[in-house]
Symmetry: C2
Subunit: 183 residues, 2 copies
DNA sequence: AAACATAGTTTCGACTCGATACATTATTTA
DNA sequence: TAAATAATGTATCGAGTCGAAACTATGTTT
């Protein structure tokens, strides 16, 4: 059973990677660069840094630094120095970058395949996949990437949200974005 | 919804790839080489060729040829010329190769994560993932890789199986292995 | 103030990948 | 039957990925 689940996930990943290769070839974007851009388009302000991308993709920072340089040179992201901690660089996805991601992620045929399944099945599968990922991240001893709403550092005060880790107020938008400090 | 399903699958794939990178580093095996070896360990005699590996991984034959050369040089597979069609090379996984795959696939922590889920959930997820893959392969206009039991070319005669495409008798083992001509 | 930790870049060598050209062997067509 | 075409597989090239290591700069601890 686990063998089969593993096989199918591997195969799905191979297919999406192929689609990404084709979709990105026009812009000269490699699959891994698209994954980085995709992450940056869905993460919040605590996670829009090279190190967060590194942890998300599970690569080394040197490798990721190269990929980000490419994304920047193509005008898909911009680097902005953090005003408080000057070691940190924030990566902002440009409108060009957002447009690219919107047109390629999820890949067209993947989207089509999912759409052909009953709504209820989609929901069930998502729930089970999320559960698998959570268990997998725990088993890997890896910090999870999650959204602030469920983060133990997210403390809501009346109608506003405050990050309990940094005590910074969070916008509604931040609360719904993926966060590196998720716990 | 589709976005989320896509995100989770991508993340699961990243994690398994990382585990594979670590597991293979001792033997000097790259993730893609492990995937090729894994496929060869579960395919039948119609699919144990370089071109079948190429189609399965979605790469070009030149690229795959290189990976197979590495697997051969490490004694994990052996190349055997086809007696009938002399263009074809069959790839046999050696006992060393089988031992490696058995110890690394699925990755340990992935297995652990799956095992922690209720049996019923595992079954449900497998069914839904398979359905997704089937739809995805169709949408991609790609020939599916499946097992002979459901293949339209598989015609059973009494207790024996015969491949309706080649009219060759199939062993019980062949019938249960993944096949390139699956349709 | 010194030691250490963190964020990020650069450089290097090994490897992946697609594209192309090529050799062999089958199959189709004329 | 001969020629054209198709299929399987290999070799080579250049662009790109990857981890490791060395490095800079900035923060944090001691």
């Amino acid at each position: 059973m686990k063998e089969n689940i593993f096989n199918v996930i591997e195969r799905l990943a191979n297919l999406t990677r192929q689609e990404a290769r084709v979709a990105g070839s026009a812009e000269g974007l490699q699959p891994v660069q698209q994954e980085a851009l995709h992450f940056l388009s869905i993460c919040n302000k605590y996670s829009d840094t090279p190190i967060a991308v590194t942890e998300y993709l599970g690569l080394t920072k040197g490798t990721v630094s190269q990929s980000l340089k490419v994304l920047e040179s193509k005008g898909l992201i911009e680097k902005v120095k953090d005003e408080v901690d000057k070691r940190i660089t924030h990566l902002k996805v440009t409108s060009t970058g957002l447009a690219f991601i919107a047109s390629t992620s999820p890949p067209e045929k993947f989207t089509q395949a999912i759409s052909e399944m009953p709504e209820q099945d989609q929901q069930t599968m998502l729930t089970l996949l999320k559960s698998t990922l959570r268990h997998y991240q725990l088993a890997s001893g890896r910090k999870g990437f999650g959204v602030c709403k469920q983060c133990k550092f997210n403390q809501s005060v009346k109608d506003n949200f405050v990050c309990g880790l940094t005590e910074e107020p969070l916008s509604i938008k931040d609360v719904e974005l993926i966060c590196r400090e998720y716990a």
